[in-house]
């Protein structure tokens, strides 16, 4: 009886609501994300990235296979999950993209202009950086995210990133926290993760780089930060700069421990 009554009440409620109100956006988005994650096109880009990793290039005509991503020269297995970290040879903290740039200009002796000519690609002109990143990251599947946190510069990078996350500036007075500081908030229909908290950021740092459906391309974490600052109406962040690496360090340390589950697929 009670069940029937409740069923009736639910039906009446459903009838009273317009059709759109019955759709839970978050559930629908999750369902969609699950659907596309099962057959992520990122893997196709990984194959291209692997070919680029092994391609002889630059004045020295060498491949990147001798590049030390932190686990020894040429070791790609589990390397991404342990970035950012401090590199003594460069005396600074580097994320994957910054380290790749370093190897292109040192190991391969390529000019910075050559190495940075296509940091962000599109369907017509793919980016070497994006393809390489997705290949390297793919070699960390299942490995818990464990960025460096012991070296003093790794700790300074975290602290700088944390301060930058909350730093308001730009034409519209935005910080990262303006959109990613409060739970259950949206821009238009897009729910925003709280990136300053482990539960909000773990899944995020464990799925970049990612295949972006809207760009039909794989994109790096450097790109994600760059495009956030564009929408925040700031000037343009310099690729691989200390500020961008510090933010990645801050986010990755906050989300550490999550097994790497990317390269993912995003809207």
């Amino acid at each position: 009886m009670l069940k029937t009554l409740m069923g009736g009440a639910a039906l009446a409620l459903a009838a009273a609501l317009p059709l759109h109100a019955q759709v839970d956006i978050r559930k629908e988005t999750q369902r969609w994300q699950q659907m596309i994650a099962e057959g992520s096109p990122a893997e196709l880009f990984e194959i291209e990235g692997e070919a680029l990793w092994k391609k002889k290039q630059g004045p020295k005509n060498v491949s990147l296979e001798g590049c030390d991503l932190g686990q020894g020269p040429g070791v790609v297995k589990a390397a991404y999950a342990q970035l950012p970290k401090y590199f003594a040879d460069a005396d600074r903290v580097m994320d994957l993209e910054t380290r790749l740039l370093h190897c292109m200009t040192t190991l391969q002796s390529r000019s910075p202009q050559d190495a940075t000519q296509r940091l962000y690609g599109n369907a017509d002109r793919p980016s070497e950086m994006e393809l390489l990143s997705v290949y390297i990251a793919g070699q960390s599947r299942g490995v818990p995210m464990a960025p460096g946190t012991r070296h003093v510069k790794e700790r300074e990078a975290f602290e700088l990133g944390q301060k930058l996350f909350f730093h308001r500036a730009g034409a519209w007075d935005f910080s990262c926290s303006s959109c990613h500081g409060e739970a259950d908030k949206r821009i238009r229909m897009q729910y925003l993760p709280v990136m300053s908290q482990p539960e909000g950021v773990r899944k995020i740092v464990a799925t970049w780089p990612s295949y972006l459906v809207r760009n039909a391309q794989v994109k790096t974490m450097q790109w994600r930060i760059w495009d956030c600052y564009r929408q925040m109406r700031w000037p343009e962040p310099v690729f691989g700069s200390e500020a961008t690496v510090a933010i990645t360090q801050y986010l990755t340390v906050t989300g550490q421990g999550e097994p790497y589950a990317g390269p993912g697929t995003k809207r």
Binding site: H20, T149, R150, R155, F158, E159, L160, Q162, K163, L164, F166, H167, R168, A169, G170, A171, W172, D173, F174, S178, C179, E182, D184, K185, R186, I187, R188, M189, L192, S196, Q197, P198, Y229, R230, Q231, R233, W234, P235, E236, P237, V238, S241, E242, A243, T244, V253, T254
Partner: protein, 210 residues
């Protein structure tokens, strides 16, 4: 006993050897020296592109105070600044109610002010990114408060018109660390556009109030 003591001492050495845990999940306190560092770092690690110049990284008195006090400055800091900002708003003479239909288009549009926008394009107000307004628009953000029935609740008195216009022009005059962009002060929107948005919020014929 001795064994236990040795074990304990050993643990102490190990702990001392580890670095203290990083303050994950916290909001850092910002001293004046931190703020100087953050401005210097942003000027070093960002570059001007298109319409987005380096002047955007300069902090005025309002943003300095908000950054220094985690967006919650004491009243004796915020009040004089709010009063000063309110005095700086160039309120136009006469009615502040423009055309609500034009205002609606502005509220819908989120374009403008990024480095990828061409100069002299028609900027939008980005209102729906954060606010609910008309019941017909279901795709609205929730970072800002709902503005549904804004005018129906408040009426269209001169004081309400001034508050609405002023809030859009420079939100910091009413709440120093408001998260809302200063649409007039930042030259995102011009006088006529802010009047049109004021009408969109206040006009009884606007869908916001239906």
């Amino acid at each position: 006993m001795t064994k236990n003591f040795l074990l304990l001492a050993g643990t102490a050495v190990l702990v001392a050897g580890c670095a203290a845990p990083l303050p994950v999940g916290e909001r850092p306190k910002i001293a004046a020296s931190d703020l100087d560092q953050l401005v210097a770092v942003s000027k070093r690690d960002f570059k001007a592109r298109g319409i987005a110049g380096m002047d955007r990284l300069e902090l005025d008195a309002a943003m300095r105070a908000c950054n220094l006090h985690n967006d919650n400055p004491p009243r004796e800091v915020s009040q004089p600044l709010e009063e000063q900002i309110l005095k700086s708003i160039p309120f136009p003479q006469g009615s502040l109610l423009g055309d609500w239909k034009r205002g609606q288009r502005l509220a819908q549009s989120g374009q403008g002010m990024t480095w990828s926008d061409k100069p002299n394009i028609a900027n939008g107000g980005s209102c729906y990114n954060c606010h609910q307004l008309s019941p017909q628009e279901e795709s609205f953000g929730t970072l800002g408060t709902s503005l549904r029935n804004f005018g129906k609740i408040r009426g269209t008195s001169e004081a309400i018109q001034r508050y609405t216009y002023g809030k859009i022009y420079n939100s910091k005059a009413y709440n120093l660390c408001s998260q809302m962009p200063r649409m007039g002060h930042s030259k995102t929107l011009n006088e006529q556009q802010i009047k049109d948005l004021t009408a969109y919020l206040l006009d009884p014929n606007s869908p916001v109030n239906k």
